[in-house]
Symmetry: C2
Subunit: 322 residues, 2 copies
Amino acid sequence: MTDMNSQYVIGIDVGGQTTKLGVVDARGTVLAQTVIRTDTYDDINPYIAELAEALNRIIKESGKEGEIRGIGVGAPNGNYYTGTIENAVNLSWGGTRIIHFAELLSKAMNGLPVALTNDANAAAVGEMTYGAARGMKNFIMITLGTGVGSGIVINGDVVYGHDGFAGELGHVTAVRNNGRSCNCGKTGCLETYASATGVARTAREWLELSDEPSVLRSLDTISSKDVYEAAKEGDKLALKIFEFTGKILGRSFADFIAFSSPEAIVLFGGLARAKEYLLAPIEDAMNSNVLPLWKNKVKVVFSQLKESDAAILGASALAWEL
Amino acid sequence: MTDMNSQYVIGIDVGGQTTKLGVVDARGTVLAQTVIRTDTYDDINPYIAELAEALNRIIKESGKEGEIRGIGVGAPNGNYYTGTIENAVNLSWGGTRIIHFAELLSKAMNGLPVALTNDANAAAVGEMTYGAARGMKNFIMITLGTGVGSGIVINGDVVYGHDGFAGELGHVTAVRNNGRSCNCGKTGCLETYASATGVARTAREWLELSDEPSVLRSLDTISSKDVYEAAKEGDKLALKIFEFTGKILGRSFADFIAFSSPEAIVLFGGLARAKEYLLAPIEDAMNSNVLPLWKNKVKVVFSQLKESDAAILGASALAWEL
């Protein structure tokens, strides 16, 4: 079915609401892409059927029928070793099941090989193949979205660990005492502070605890985007929120550096758009908390992938390794 | 000079006071060994000369002249990539210099190949080759000595990172606020609590802060060994000190697991002898702070290498990879 000289791959990003899929060439150009719903299916089988149909449609559209080398999938709780999605409570057809996603999809696509990993690992491979980490063999990808995800690359390989689930840096303990409660059941996890959700929590908490004036007070609900907009208008509380968020991130990054001594930490995701407010406090806190040998040595860089294509590119990059 | 079929290697453990060296076979038997002083030399050259002399003596003693495959060296601040020892302030001939140790030693030994890394990485390779981590491809070695060192193995390879200095887990921040000051210049480092020195510090601190009776009060100076002896006699304060130490370790181990998802964490070093008091609090704290998917899944095991041989074995194991 597959030809190792084929110069095109498929990237699929499985999200809670939608699934993005595209045909990608070796230089990272998305030749054709589309989106299907994820959340309208309670059962995996009709979802896979629609996904296969959509894939065949974009392959045809790209004019590359018979030239596809393989499929890369980024999905929450994706296990690279087994090709399964395990206990993905945020997927309507996920729940507490073990879903043999790669196997099912490969069958539906006439045997095309499928590689699967979690979304943050896929992003790391994408950045290494097409983006800010090109040429790097040791870096850590941190995705700042609804949660905080991570993909760790050591010696050019993604770290999957003993069980396939390594790289859950959103759940290291950032605040040891009285830390915020996390969806995972723990308290003080990095993602309760440094995700989009975490930034909104900080805003709500600080508004309640102080009388400091802020444009955020006039809002009924607050998202990290609201905090970003307020910061752009010079709102002091909003600026302090990003400073705090950056400090929490930088302190944790220092510990990550002690582990794998990366060349760079690459930031990606919605919250990474607040680069101008996050970078300085991250670097300050990071460099204050590393051993002298790493002070001002480790780069903090931001993703270079076009945001609309990044999810597909990240997943597709996995397929080159098939 | 070297014959790839040679079945013997040399292991050298460079410590601040003494240097241990031995001839080792493929099963981890030390055929001949000796010790020289490290701290009587201010300059590297006469030290290397004495080391070479001692090596030739034990090679002769083992009867394996001409059958040595290579030399493995474990040394503080050893860089695997460059074979150098950098800024080793605890070595009398170290200081703030960069010493081309592997090159100097290889020359002095007629071109025998030399591999060098830090002592904790050497211990990890030793444990993987001959000890508790045999057959494991993903584990973290934690050495509990004067300080806390670490050697991280992922997919069967030691993690050296971008610069050769990865695996400094003794310097992750264990206590964020009002943490103890560390030799490295930071505060709250894991090793200020969980090393032999850290245990002694805890004892002195707690004796001063409380009136709790303890056999430790009668001592002029307190070492971790004193605390261990007191615990064995059932001294309540001493037992609480180990409980606290284990908790600090276990909490940090939980963060390490989120990074590389190891099969096991292997403990080694003088303080690891207090296994009966450390294991339960380590496992409790570790399992309370990991994501549900790792709860009660990651083993905490203790080194299986004979303590008197361990340093030589660890270093020698490096030489098999030459």
